[in-house]
């Protein structure tokens, strides 16, 4: 009974405040000297080293991203025609998501109010957020940074995107809608 009382008193002391902690753990402090204040302090040298590591990370990040972009630009994707399932029954002034030319490339098919089909890569050309079709405004909109694209051409209407959406060529064959090719747009300033 007395031992449990001692334990509870010790716990109470330990949890009370910092000075009590040091007092309660005095035997351990003698064997393992440990100063909390010193432990929490970051020296200028340590901070400089941290900044150096950050600098290295930022450099390798930029280099990696640029390398990947350059490699992706050289990679040639074989494009073949693909049937877009469900496009025939698509209501006027509405959209349908599909993948083209590979499963990883999301795309969006829009059937405008006049019955015409338009398809675009779904990645916004600003920071790759998925664009969606706004029925009310009849345009493609990016919810991330409020960019908008023309539904008939894919051109930028306003916002931060630097170039038009990638256009997917669409053909209607025997009443079925087919995607037949994908054209990547380039920036208007020619960069």
């Amino acid at each position: 009974m007395s031992s449990s009382k001692n334990i509870s008193e010790t716990i109470k002391r330990v949890l009370s405040d910092e000075s009590d902690v040091r007092e309660a753990t005095a035997p351990f402090q003698a064997e393992f000297p440990y100063e909390r204040d010193e432990e929490a302090q970051v020296t200028r040298r340590e901070f400089c080293n941290f900044l150096g590591l950050t600098s290295a990370a930022l450099f390798f990040g930029a280099a990696g991203f640029a390398t990947k972009a350059a490699l992706d630009a050289r990679e040639e994707v074989s494009v073949s025609a693909a049937h877009i399932g469900g496009a025939e029954t698509l209501a006027l002034n509405s959209s349908l998501n599909f993948s083209y030319p590979t499963e990883r490339d999301s795309a969006i098919l829009i059937r405008t109010a006049d019955g015409a089909y338009h398809a675009y890569g779904q990645k916004c050309t600003h920071l790759s957020c998925p664009v969606y079709y706004s029925r009310d405004h009849q345009r493609l909109e990016c919810p991330c940074h409020e960019g908008a694209f023309d539904v008939a051409t894919g051109d930028v209407l306003y916002g931060p995107p630097p170039r038009a959406l990638d256009v997917i060529e669409v053909e209607v064959r025997d009443g079925q809608v087919w995607a037949t090719g994908r054209n990547t747009s380039t920036p208007k300033d020619g960069g």
Binding site: S55, K68, A69, T184, G191
Partner: protein
């Protein structure tokens, strides 16, 4: 006299460390901006500016490295203000 010299040297060391820190922080901020510009350029397919951006980031990294590794005026025999270091080495 010796104590006064030591105090001056200590103050100089602190100033140098502060200057070093400020420069490193500024370079890091610049590199952060360069990384953002790289991402922007890659997504916009502005491939011609990618290499200059990466080179600029590399130069920043080298400057950072040189500041941390080699720029050590406080470890020399003379302090940055020209005083001879005392016997504290």
């Amino acid at each position: 006299m010796e104590a006064e010299l030591k105090t001056t040297a200590k103050a100089g060391q602190v100033a140098v460390w502060q200057a070093r820190l400020i420069m490193l922080v500024m370079i890091n901020i610049a590199q952060l901006w360069i990384l953002a510009a790289t991402v922007d350029a890659a997504l916009a397919r502005h491939y011609s500016v990618l290499l200059p951006l990466v080179v600029a980031s590399g130069v920043c990294f080298l400057v950072t490295l040189s500041i941390i590794r080699w720029w050590r005026p406080t470890s020399r025999q003379k302090t940055s203000s020209g005083y001879l270091r005392g016997n504290d080495r």
